[in-house]
């Protein structure tokens, strides 16, 4: 699912990319393709279960969410319940190139809408066999 579809499904907004982001980087937003989605407010859960190339919905707006996404290879973040990211979060997101989205929907409904629009989840938490089966 691409970014445009996510925004449509969530009736969401893309928080303005900070000035200085190159036109190519902005254009790249259109090329993002999420293979699955996840939702969590617990960052350790995100680190444990997130899949690369996924979309993360969260109610937390602190910069650590961006760091977590960076480490886990998450492509974009959605802040639910109409929350706006504080400037330090936006700044970090710009630095590491992770787009920030927002929706007025609460977590449950935001997830439900995306799932109904056929964005799959990250799969069963086949405790650790799944996410880190990589190269081992």
């Amino acid at each position: 699912m691409d970014l445009k579809t996510v925004l449509e499904v969530l009736e969401g907004e893309l928080f303005p990319p900070p000035p200085g982001l190159s036109p190519a980087a902005v254009e790249n937003l259109d090329r993002l393709e999420f293979t699955c989605g996840g939702a969590a407010d617990l960052m350790s859960d995100v680190l444990a279960f997130a899949r690369p190339d996924s979309l993360l919905l969260t109610g937390l707006t602190l910069p650590q969410v961006v760091r977590t996404a960076e480490m886990a290879g998450i492509l974009a973040l959605v802040f639910v319940r109409g929350k706006h990211p504080p400037p330090e979060t936006s700044a970090l997101a710009a630095e590491v190139g992770i787009p920030l989205l927002g929706t007025q929907y609460k977590m449950y409904e935001a997830c439900g809408r995306l799932y109904a629009a056929r964005l799959p989840g990250t799969g069963f938490p086949d405790l650790y066999a799944l996410p880190y089966g990589m190269g081992k």
Partner: protein, 319 residues
Amino acid sequence: MTDHTDVEVSKLQELVYELKIEDVMKREVVTVAPQTSMREFKELLRLKRISGAPVVEDGKLVGIISLEDLIKALEDGEMDNLVGSKMTCGVETLCSDDSAVQAVNRMARFGYGRFPVVDRSGKLVGILTRGDILRGLLRRLEVNYREEEIQRYRASHIFQDIVSDRTSLILRYQVQGKDFRQGGAASSKIKRAIERLGGGPPIARRVGVAAYEAEMNLVIHTDRGGEIRVEIQPDRVYILAEDQGPGISDIEQALQPGFSTAPEWIRELGFGAGMGLLNIKHCTDRMKLDSKLGVGTRLEMWFHIPPPESAPKQKEDLL
């Protein structure tokens, strides 16, 4: 493949907009004065091997004269006439601070292959052909490409370029205790270092996640912070996170999923779910945790880097 091409095209588009005409135009322009005779002009074309020239009077562009005008003058027996009477006036020009994309558009619109370039005061400063734009773009692309490549090359070849019986690169990061804002900054740099050194996304991700959990443990559980030391060898990464913090009373218990001693405020921030050490264990190939109450904690992590030849295709590898 198509994705890759698309990115390249957009990069090229970006360059066409960024590139200024003055960056690509030829500055040494052969010009003629209006008082030059067509006969002298013919000699000039022969000597300089050109097919036309801007006509300049007192530094200002007044017209343009081409091979076509010369042939016409030859046919009409007007070789002693002056350039000023045979030239084309009201020449289409480009401005030196316009972008290359404007030049491309005007070339397409007027069908001319060559445009005199003037500055804002109308003074002739150069000449521009399609070839100049193409050359300028290629040069810029090459520079951009090489800058990226050189950084990656320099880093990834460090192990080939510097020869020893066993070469390793050691990175040290000081992590501040309770400095939640900065938490993760070291891991981000570690992950990028692995990528720069040629580690693929899966290994960079494993190292990144494990380092991040270890770094957040230093931030959350210690007052004075600690040090993360990363030792990178071509086939393995070793990370030591060490602190003189409170220590762990029961390591077995600390490894249980969901067990956490993190304070409430940390949990409110989305951390301290009791998954950290478990996450680390599953990202690493080997992990060793030593701790003494009141003395400190030593967390050691080992990662094998699979050789690039045997690495599966990137996409499958990621999943």
